[in-house]
């Protein structure tokens, strides 16, 4: 069976990743060079997507922004998945009091609207790319933890795990070699969805000025200018948003395709 959404998703994300890696080659201008002679130029042959209020080339800024946004998305989800895997596996495997404690912690973390927590920590620690990766990662692991716990709870009772136990394998070996590899499918789906979510969080945070700081371009902070240029320069609003939309769409398509492939 052909998997259309998986293919289209991989095509989109692959394309964006290549552009992000080759950013200096792809972009026709330096993203932070100010050009007083071409302020707020509409899209033209010279500037594909126009220029911003400082005359910087919007296309180049979006291309370089891809590096930041994709990078933050990947690292943040990496952190979230790792934390979720460890806590979820511990809760599911050991059960009892450890399970109760970890799951209570998950419930409590889920009470905090993520954006408030992220904004508070960003404000207190000061915004930087590194901080955002960690904050977003540490506030979005709860879903993975619940998922892994559920998977492991049902896997634990299966025969191959009982067999492993009977030949005296250590708990750690059972978790790492047998339980986690068998539970990884749904985790992969949720991680892929999570990258889109993390990019969305980052763009919102940068839009509010508490994320990636100018002059480093990120899709969120390019949009800061769009409020003051609303009636004047539509391109500043439209294109960075389209970049975010396309990226998240790509990851969602991959997630959808993976789900189908794994028979969910």
């Amino acid at each position: 069976m052909q998997n259309k959404s998986l293919n289209i998703g991989i095509l989109i994300i692959g394309f964006l990743t290549i552009i992000a890696i080759l950013a200096p080659l792809v972009s026709p201008f330096d993203p932070s060079v100010i050009d007083q002679d071409s302020l707020l130029m509409p899209p033209s042959l010279k500037h594909f997507l126009g220029t911003d209020t400082l005359g910087r080339d919007l296309f180049s800024r979006i291309v370089f922004g891809a590096r930041i946004s994709l990078g933050i998305g990947l690292v943040a989800v990496g952190i979230a998945t790792l934390v979720g895997l460890i806590l979820g596996a511990a809760a599911g495997f050991y059960g009892g009091r450890i399970d109760g404690l970890i799951m209570r912690f998950v419930d409590i973390m889920l009470c905090f609207p993520t954006f408030y927590l992220i904004l508070a920590v960003a404000a207190i620690l000061g915004p930087s790319i590194f901080n955002i990766m960690i904050i977003v990662g540490l506030t979005s692991w709860m879903g993975v933890a619940r998922l892994v716990r559920g998977e492991i709870l049902s896997l634990k009772e299966r025969e191959f795990i009982q067999a492993e136990k009977s030949i005296g394998a250590s708990n750690l070996r059972i978790i790492i070699r047998h339980l986690i590899p068998n539970a990884i499918g749904p985790v992969l789906v949720s991680a892929t969805l999570g990258i889109g979510g993390a990019i969305l969080l980052e763009s919102g945070l940068s839009f509010l000025g508490l994320g990636v700081q100018p002059p480093t371009p990120s899709w969120g902070n390019i949009l800061i200018e769009s409020k003051s240029t609303l009636g004047v320069a539509w391109w500043i609003t439209v294109f960075p948003g389209l970049a975010i939309l396309t990226t998240i769409l790509g990851f969602n398509l991959i997630a959808e395709g993976l789900k189908k492939k794994l028979g969910g």
Partner: protein, 324 residues
């Protein structure tokens, strides 16, 4: 039912404790001491003075003592004063809460009113053009950053067409309007914020409703209903719909954190004086007391939202009530 509610309320206590503990740890993340943060810009204060202030506020005590002191203040609803203007944090929040709550409740209504029938229609006409187009639209909507949609809609309705006001919740000459004009004016101002904050949850609930309905229509009791010759309308709206609607109650409760989180962005885009904008200003000024009070408040609101959703769920579905 009453026992169920009491059991749930009792279960909230440890949650409340955890919420305050995590919030406290977030404050303590701050590099430097809170007193320094407040007074470091004031050249008139000497180091001795700072030490004295630290003693008064109890920052020289061990962390756990500080935590319990702080908890004691919280239990009396004393969140301290705001750094920016010295007013009590609680007063600042209370005067701004109604705006945010009414916008969020209105958008929940909007979501429910549109997403549920939309999802049902999609499910009943599975595979039709309507279903396929709406699946595509929902997929796009799901991937679009809502603050970007807000900016686009603003561009369209407020600037291009000039139909709607661009910011705030009332016009400048609001005082001179009669009652009807006042209602109309607020409505015009709130239209876009409510629409945009609803859009965020809309796609999710629509898709969810569709898959619920499809699943419900495949249940054995639907075959039974068909076999005994019930009309198709009765099967759909009485048997399938009621069961498909059940989980939506919980989802609406769970969408509360997203809505409240979204308020931060929408309220700063549309310049609405609610708690989201207040929080944004507090974060920009590093107004620690205000930040903490709001975090705890939204966490408690979310907790209560989930509780209400669970109680409603138990009310409509007796199977939940008698479990455990």
């Amino acid at each position: 039912m009453i026992t169920y509610i009491f059991r749930r309320l009792f279960g909230l206590l440890p949650m409340l404790f955890g919420i305050t503990l995590i919030s406290f740890m977030v404050i303590k993340l701050a590099p430097g001491k809170p007193v320094m943060l407040q007074y470091s810009l004031n050249p008139k204060i000497s180091l001795d003075e700072i030490k004295r202030l630290e003693k008064i506020e109890g920052f020289d005590k061990p962390l756990y003592v500080q935590y319990f002191n702080w908890l004691g203040n919280l239990s009396r609803f004393n969140f301290g004063r705001s750094i920016s203007d010295g007013r009590f944090v609680m007063d600042k929040i209370v005067e701004r809460l109604p705006v945010t709550l009414s916008i969020n409740i209105l958008s929940l209504f909007l979501i429910f009113l549109i997403a549920v029938p939309w999802g049902i229609r999609s499910a009943l006409k599975q595979g039709s053009t309507f279903d396929r187009v709406s699946t595509l639209v929902m997929f796009l909507l799901f991937a679009a950053p809502t603050f970007w949609l807000a900016l686009l809609l603003m561009q369209l309705f407020c600037i291009q067409f000039g139909w709607l006001p661009i910011s705030g919740i009332t016009s400048l000459d609001f005082e001179h309007f009669n009652w009807w004009q006042k209602v109309f004016d607020i409505g015009r101002h709130l239209f876009l914020p409510v629409l945009v904050s609803g859009l965020a949850g809309f796609a999710g609930i629509c898709r969810y409703m569709r898959s619920n309905m499809i699943e419900a229509l495949q249940q054995p009791y639907i075959y039974t209903a068909r076999a005994k010759g019930l009309s198709e309308n009765k099967i759909i709206y009485k048997h399938a719909l009621r069961n498909a609607l059940l989980p939506i109650v919980t989802i609406l409760g769970l969408s509360l954190p997203g809505l409240l989180g979204g308020s931060i962005i929408f309220e700063s885009i549309f310049a609405i004086p609610g708690i989201g904008r207040l929080f944004y200003e507090a974060a920009m000024m590093r107004d620690i007391n205000l930040i903490m009070a709001e975090i705890i408040l939204v966490a408690v609101l979310t907790m209560l939202g989930n509780l209400i959703a669970d109680v409603l769920y138990a009310y409509v579905d007796p199977r939940i009530r008698y479990k455990k």
